[in-house]
Symmetry: C2
Subunit: 219 residues, 2 copies
């Protein structure tokens, strides 16, 4: 029943009929509620997730519980951070959680590991998907390292507004702080400053972009 989604995977045509049948048979639909943990380091291996709807947040966390979001995945994208155990000599010490209610097709670890051993196209797919996220994480890292807090807040709000097509970005100040790797108090001060300048309006559970061009000029 998932064959249509599966057939869009770049390695699908390189699988034998038996491998295709095993994949169609063993993959399954999974659902996560907003805020639910999908994967933690040292927790074993889930598998590869093909996201159908919702969003996953990938983050690093410190022993004291500080968080820094390093990547986000949306519908149509593939999550391989939940499949690091299949990569020889590689470990990703990251947390994955559902940022909103999320549905995905799961290619379970055992299935995927088997396919990967039998088929070099599956291996190339996995590492390529990881490499694509690498490039995305580097961009986010550059922002965390070199942009001012004001620029990071503006950049996050503009990205989210562009992605959702709405000027009202649904995010709490705590979530925003985690997303850009900063502290809630600092983010709160920055939002107040931007509000005084007429660039945003802070609402309950959301930040509304009041002057998009001015926000762009900050970057």
């Amino acid at each position: 029943m998932y064959t249509e989604t599966l057939s869009r995977l770049p390695f699908w045509q390189h699988l034998t009929p038996a491998q295709q049948a095993a994949a169609a048979d063993q993959c399954r639909r999974v659902e996560y509620a907003a805020g639910q943990a999908v994967h933690s380091p040292g927790e074993g291996c889930l598998g590869v997730l093909l996201i159908e709807s919702g969003a996953l947040r990938i983050y690093l966390s410190s022993p004291e519980g500080r968080q820094a979001t390093i990547d986000r995945l949306h519908a149509g994208q593939i999550c391989v951070m939940t499949a690091a155990c299949m990569m020889r000599g590689v470990s990703f010490d990251v947390q994955v959680e559902a940022e909103s209610d999320t549905a995905a097709l799961l290619l379970p670890a055992r299935l995927f590991a088997g396919l990967m051993q039998e088929n070099i196209y599956v291996e190339a797919f996995l590492y390529r998907a990881a490499t694509e996220r690498f490039a995305s994480v580097l961009t986010g890292m550059e922002q965390m390292l070199f942009l001012t807090l004001e620029q990071r807040v503006a950049s996050f709000l503009l990205d989210e507004a562009a992605r959702t097509g709405s000027d009202a970005v649904r995010v709490t100040q705590e979530q925003l702080a985690q997303a850009i790797g900063s502290a809630r108090e600092a983010v709160s001060r920055t939002l107040k400053k931007l509000e005084r300048q007429g660039l945003v309006t802070v609402e309950r559970g959301a930040v509304r972009l009041a002057d998009r061009p001015a926000l762009y000029r900050l970057l």
Copy 2:
């Protein structure tokens, strides 16, 4: 003449004799002096480097020239950040420079791109090598985000001492600052503090570890 080195590449046995001959024929030895730029973003594609001796430093740089080292590669390792142009839909906005005098075997971009198109094992190798660096960069990122400056300095010194087998880490304060993504003045203050506590001795162009166990206890 480079066949012995090349034959250790995991895809080598999957190449046809003609592909092996082309690789042996077109690869060449390159040398970089300490401090020399190896690759800059937007500069085109060099190819894959198999490092024979020396060290490469991978760093991000801000428009104002601030730098943050995100990875280091040593003898026996493979640099693929100089081959991002071969990865579809992936770009790495990073700088690569020789940290010490470095010799490497270069599989030039044109050769490698050709092999990769013809041979899925070569593609899998490239993305796997990138994924391995991803894991390493994430570890460094975690340190930059969550460790105190003192911890980052201690961690860098201990790593370098372990790697070189010497208690005298040859590094200027400017280099140390770049390596851990901080400012020279802040690093200078931190080193003075560690020196007062008897943990290190600051020498010209080097930092000597005076009390390794105490440095470990900082982490």
